[in-house]
Structures are given as structure tokens and as C-alpha cells.
Symmetry: C2
Subunit: 528 residues, 2 copies
Amino acid sequence: MKRRNLLRMIGMTAGSAAMYQAMSSLGLASESPYKGPNPLGEAPKGASVLVLGSGIAGMVAAYELRNAGYKVQVLEYNARAGGRNWSLRGGDNYTELGGFTQRCQFDPGLYFNPGPWRLPYHHRGILSYCKKLGVPLEAFNQVNHNAYLHSEKAFGGKPQRFRTIKADYQGHVSELLAKVIQTRKLDEQVSREDQEKLLDSLRQWGALDRNYAYVKGETSSLRRGFAKDPGGGLTGRPVQSEPIALKDVLDSELWMGIPPGEDYERQTTLFQPVGGMGRIGEAFGRDLGPLIRYNAKVVDIRQDDHGVTATFEDTSKSDSPRQTATADWCVCTIPLSVLGQIPMNVGSQMADAIAALPYASSVKVGLQFKRRFWEEDDEIYGGISYTDLPIRNISYPSCDYQSSGKGVLLGAYMWGLDAMEFTSMSPEQRVSKAVEYGSQIHPQYPGEFDNGIAIAWHRSPFALGCFGTWSEEDREKHYDNLCRFDGRIVLAGEHASYVPAWQEGSVTSALDAIGRLQLRAQAAGSQT
Amino acid sequence: MKRRNLLRMIGMTAGSAAMYQAMSSLGLASESPYKGPNPLGEAPKGASVLVLGSGIAGMVAAYELRNAGYKVQVLEYNARAGGRNWSLRGGDNYTELGGFTQRCQFDPGLYFNPGPWRLPYHHRGILSYCKKLGVPLEAFNQVNHNAYLHSEKAFGGKPQRFRTIKADYQGHVSELLAKVIQTRKLDEQVSREDQEKLLDSLRQWGALDRNYAYVKGETSSLRRGFAKDPGGGLTGRPVQSEPIALKDVLDSELWMGIPPGEDYERQTTLFQPVGGMGRIGEAFGRDLGPLIRYNAKVVDIRQDDHGVTATFEDTSKSDSPRQTATADWCVCTIPLSVLGQIPMNVGSQMADAIAALPYASSVKVGLQFKRRFWEEDDEIYGGISYTDLPIRNISYPSCDYQSSGKGVLLGAYMWGLDAMEFTSMSPEQRVSKAVEYGSQIHPQYPGEFDNGIAIAWHRSPFALGCFGTWSEEDREKHYDNLCRFDGRIVLAGEHASYVPAWQEGSVTSALDAIGRLQLRAQAAGSQT
């Protein structure tokens, strides 16, 4: 079966198996390096597409449509490509809604990702574009057993090492279940034979001793760490550590820091582009070159039987006259939070869907310190410390391990009310506040702090929020209406996906949309 | 207190707190980059030390003793520095006992570590030397949720993804304990209040549903992975996956693959030097330069009241006359498996200790393939697949992710009888056998195999084994005798540590030994 026919067939059965899977097998995904021509087949002669937004979704669409032979033009609000795919580096300026302007003062080579920062191994779409565009990847360290779990309310506010909470929780749970088995209370649920196997596994899994107890000893220390590490010679004898009681582990609620790294979306292997997540957007931007018109603020979108016209203003010039761009089709990737404010003649189904989706508010703070004290003093190399303070996360750089000189970490990743409260302050105050909170976990903060930058997504002029937050109800009611073509317009982006907030949602949404666009364009072409 | 006095004090109380901790605080460890002069203080004028072996222990000793002002000479059997710290690259030759010679045929840039391959974050000693010597590190990926767990006897021999076994084991265990709590069978062990907290935590930790059941659903799929991943647009609806029953998880014994990555020695953050573990030995070798005499096979070690003399042969020349090297003191780092065969006039306590320690037999196989199919086909980026086949481990490279071209992986890491059986074959046959076994996990093996190399430690002429295997009894009886000075001779190496098989054992053993050497040398110096 020819590639084009295959795509036509699977594209026809919407909601069924898998435009995406099909595209994978055609070479778009990481399974086999894509070598052939474009996955869409050939564009109908002379067909044109207007892409609104040069975020990941817009650029994936533009890249593939261009390769298929479409005449493509991209309108982008910002002066750069990438959208929420973005890294801030020294010298970068950013102005948020309300007028606060920040200038990033990081040292050369250091960066901070205000938007996405992780790439899961199963996000084949975005990974395959990294490969195609030559964006090198390195491991992102999500789980660091030596990072901290912290609560103001637990252990007198003293941060605990991830490894001790994890080992102790798992050990106590294993011991409890082992006791239940030994007292024959599980006979109804599990066969005697399986109980024996379960006991054996619990001992190894929970680091229990010979009597199935989770207690101070070499076995538990080889999981949770020692009071004094084993060493060499006559001074090397290790000192075992004392587990924390189950009650204290439970009361602390620090166990809540364990699951994140086990979730499918944050399991190993995670990646980050070398040099910052923004390297992906930058690479796409270079590849698309003059197809992207920057500083173009779309103020109106009109379609009729013949095509789609976007009206835009050039934000780099004052008193810029309104201009227009026209094409046969439009792939609109503008975040719904922004799109909802732009006049566009689509039907009520798509319009209602656009209006329905609320966006998350979020603040991220990047902090530069004079030295990498988290490595030098605390032996924390990459990974994330979790706290119940409003800053929530401190994420240490997963690169340049053991390097000397300054370092930048993620000093806060805040949501909802915390994020809103933070934006009642100026950016400078937000940074100060993040340093103040972080000092509870790292007392070195005040002495080592150098400079910082605070990005609030709900105050971003180009996104007006972090990502679309679908409820089950909203998705049931609006999702398909959001994704379906309305005349000559189709929407794409993380908001038009089942992978909200992730770049993979943008990629797969764009691929799905242009697959359908191609079918329509071909059908239209064959009628003329 | 002056550095030297502090060291003197702590050195005097052997077995007590911590030469190592002290050295840490003096700047040897990663807490603070070492900036000051050497940690030993000054050598007595004219004092000399003969170091036997240029493995990690020998070179740490030589490095610090030289910096302190000792006259240092190192005798090394091999033509290179590093000992078991070693990376094989294209063009390298290796001859094992019995005469089999292998020539490594890897492509440029690819390597294989026959010896140590991982650096835990808490191995401060070896990490600090990486920093001092400018050896860049990158993350070693131990746990890869998408790697395989495999048993010939389970699931019809079909490899299972790590994530599914881990999620299902943890989910079922959580469900069982939750049921026990709900049926009030835990009232004796845990307070009612804590039971509520435990239930809440089990639900999150085990990925249970609202009814505390571990069942097919979004919650469990967000842990174990989906049957069809979520995507974008109209074709993006995910398909949930079906958990494996507890009985099948237990019967498979695949859960045994979970604990390794949770152990203190293999927890995140793990490192590897960029370009191969051998980069550390090479850097030490460059730093020590002419202090190391290569191709020097020690055949006799004599001491008297005035010094120590080692007799050696130059293995690079046939009919080389025996030569000698003499110094005031000797730090001997030759593996006990070899040292036991070299005449040396030490007392029975040290001699008995040397004779007592058995060494592990081990085989590692490095395999080069024509392409990185584990990434391209299986989405496995770094990490380790475990199997109950004799090869035990397949470890994928934790570097150059998504790169094109060839790749080298660890195709076997075998122990004991399996290792002995493998060495009844020629190296070529061992490599073939590793490919044959590995094909059960990766059917791509036969088609993609390029070349390989198989290193058997028990047949290594310079180590005669992988590492010293201490039993509790042996350690009780012999360890201190092994580590104590015998006259002017002190031993160091992983065998003289509580961290056997790890380079950190070598480093800390060497630091402990030279700390005591300095005290003795100073005492001897002040008497003359």
C-alpha cells in the first residue's frame, strides 16, 4: 500500500487507531530514523497554508507542510521562535503584561527554562524532531536520592534526604505486610505458595532483615544510607543509620515526594537538550528561516470558501499599518487563552470549545548562585528537592556536574494561588521571596545568591497561562469540537491533545491536524 | 588547630572516628573544592616511598605523597596506568593468562569498561580526584523504566518492561495492605489515625484507584504505561494497559530486578567519566608522569630496619636483568591474589590475611553493533536490562543518546560458575555466546552484531580476579591485620576497605594508609 493511501485510510477513521502510530511506522517516530520523503505525501499543486504561532505545534506543522510542498507562512507574535519552548540566557529581555521588564543577568553558558524542561523517553514525536534537527540530548535527573524532601511542619523544618524517606516508607510497608502474612491474615486473598514468594520478595524489596523486620542494620543502611559511610583502612568501619519510625514518616507527609519520579511522564529515561530546552525551538526557527514572520500580532482571522486571511500588526514598529496574510488553509496554534480574544469566524462548536478551556497559572523562578553549593556542600547532583513551601520545587542543573564557578537552578515552580500571590509582587520581590523560602532548605542561599529572574505564565502576553487544564467533563463536551476542522481552519497545540502541558501534545496534535489537512486539500484539489 | 596536628591526633586513635571524615573536612572530599596544600602536611626531609601498583589506590597514594614532598616511585606491571580502572577502545590489545590475545575493534569514540563503570554520588574520594584531575563526569543511567526484565521461565521468555513489573508489584502490595487496613486487621500494629494516613499514602504510592484497588485504569497506566500512549488531535485518545496479576509477577521473579537501583551504591545520582572510566586512570597517569615505571613486574619485596626493596623484571624486554627499587617506606597496592604469590618478608599476621582473601571470578563482554537498535527500535536509552540467563546484564550506553552510527553495549556481566564456564571457551566463543543469549532479549542481535571483546578477571595477569570477597568471619579475623603496618610496609586497595569492589575503597584505603605512613615517617624523622 502506498504511503499516501495508507494515510488516507487511517485518516478517514477518526478516533480509531492511529494517525500517530501510522506516522510512527512511516518514520516520524524514534523507532527508525526518518530517511524518506515527507510523511504526508505531496501537497496538491499550489496549495498554501497559513500557520499561526511558531511554538512547537506551529513549527512541526510548518516543517512537514513545507516538506510536502505546501506554500507555508508562519505568523509569530514574539521576536523569536519556540513559544513556550524557551530558555533564558544572560542578556535576554522579557516584558510581561503590566509592563514589568526583566533583563536576565546569568553568566555565559548558564540558562533557565521558564517553560518545558523535561522530555520523556516515550515522547517519540518531540524526540524524533530533536534527532532530525540535530539537537543533542542529555539525561535530565528527576529523582535524586540525595536531594531533599522538606516540610515546615515535619522534623522541625529540617530537610530530609529523599533516600531515607523512600527507604523507610517502603521498608515499613513491607514489614507490615510481612507481619500480616506471618500471622495468616492474608490466607483469603493469596495462596500459601504465593505468600511464601511474597514474603521473600518483601524482604529484598523492603530491605528487611532475616526476621522480616525493618530495623537499623547493614541491610537498611545499604538502602537509606549510613550514619558514617564505609571507607578504607583502619578508619573505614561504617556506622549504620537509624530508620525513621513509620508514624513520623506518615505524619511528615514527605512520602508525597516519592511518586512523581515513578510516574510514566517523569520516569527514567528523561532528557533535556544540551544548553537548554529552547535549543529545540531555536533549531526549528533556523530550519524554517524566512517562512516565519516575527513580531506579527494576529488581530483577526477570517475564512471564506476560498481561503483564510489573518490580519496582523507588526509589533516592532509603532504606527504599523495592519497587514494581512492569506492562504488556502490555516493551522492555528495560538493558545486558546489568547485566541479567545481574537475575532475569528468559526462555528459555535469550535468557538464554545475555545471559550471553555481554562488555563493554569504558574510561576517559575531561575536563580543564579556564585557557586554550586548544592554539589559542593550537599552532594546533590541534579534532581529535585520538594517542599510544601510555595516555591514547591528546587531543581538542580542536570549538567556540568562538578564544574566550578556559578550555577543556575530552578528556585520555584509554583501553581494556582501561590503563583497568583507571587505576581502581586514585582519580579525583583518574587526573586527575593524565592531566595527567602529556599533558605529554609539551603542556608547557603542568602550568602551565595547572585541574581534571578521570575516568569509568570498567566502574565505572559503570548500565552496568558501555562497550559490548558481539561476537566473530564470539558473534554467530553468540547475536545472533538476543538480538534475538528471548521471550514478551512484547524487548531493544534498541547490544548488540542491528550498530553496537556507537554510538548509531545503539541507535536502529535500538529501531526494529526496536518494529516487531516492533507486529506482535505487533496479532496479539494481533485474537485477542481 | 593546625592541619598536621589534627591529622596526627585522629591518626593516633585508629578505628575511631575518621581519618577519612577528617580528610574530607580538610578539603579532600567534594564538599569544598580542595585549594590548599596537600592534606598530609610536609614530608620529613628526604623521606621516600615506593608504591607498588598504579591502580587507583597506588596513584592516590603517589599523588598525595608526592605533593607532600616525598620522593615517590611507582612500579606498575602493565604498560598503562589505572589497573582495573580501564577502558578498552579500538586498537587496544589484551592478552589474558593462557595466551589468548584480543584486539579491540570498536569504532573511534566507542569504548567498554571491563572493570568499574559507575561512580556513586557519595563516593566523595574518587569524585574529588575526578574534579582535581579535570575528568568530566556525566550521569550513568542505572534504572531505565523502559529497559527489560527477562527470564526464560516467565511470560514465555518474552521480556517485560521494568516499569510494568515495578508498578504492578508496588500496586499489588499496596492494594493488599490497604485491604488489610480496611478489614481492621492492622489495629494492633498501627493506630487508627496512622492507618488513615497510611491508606491515603498507599493510594498515591501504589497508583490505586478510589477504592484502593490496583486495576486497569488511567491511574495505573500513568505509572506502568499505556497500551496506546496519549497523543494529539482526533486520534490521540489513549488506551489503558492491563496490569499483570500479582501471582504472575511473583512467579516470574522479575521483581528481583527492582532493588538494585534503590541500593545506596546504585541510587541516583550515579556518574561515569565522559569517554570511559579509564579516563581517571589515564589522568592520574599523566599527572604522575615519570614517577611511574611501567612494565615492571615485581617478583620480590624485602624490608629491613632501613627501608624496603622491591625486585622487578622489565616485561617489555626479553632477558631483562632483574632490577631493584628501594625506599624508606612501601605502599603496596598489588591485589592480594597476585601479592600472595610474591615473596615478601612480613609477619604471619599480614601474611595470613593476604592468603585468606578469595577473589571473585567475573567476565564482562563488550559488544559493538552496527546501529543503536535499543534506542531506535526499543526506546531504551541507557540503563540495564536484567535476565536470569548467564549474561545477567545488558547495559546500554549512557551517552550520545539518539546518535547515529554504531554503538557499544555491555553484553554480559557474569559471576562465579557462569564466569568460569565462559572461560572454558575462547574469547571469540564467549562473544558469540553472549550474542546468542542476548538474542533472546533483543532479536536484532544477530543481524546487527559487529564485533566484541570478552574480559575475564580471574584470567587477568595483573589482577587474577575481580575483587576481594570478604566474609564476615574473615573480616573479623584478618581485616585489621591486613591494614596495619608491618614494619615499613602498608597495604592499600579495595581489598583493604569496607567498600570492596568499588574504587572508593581504593581511594579511602590509600588515604588511610598514607595518613598513618606520614605519622610514622614523622616519628622516625624526629628520632634521627
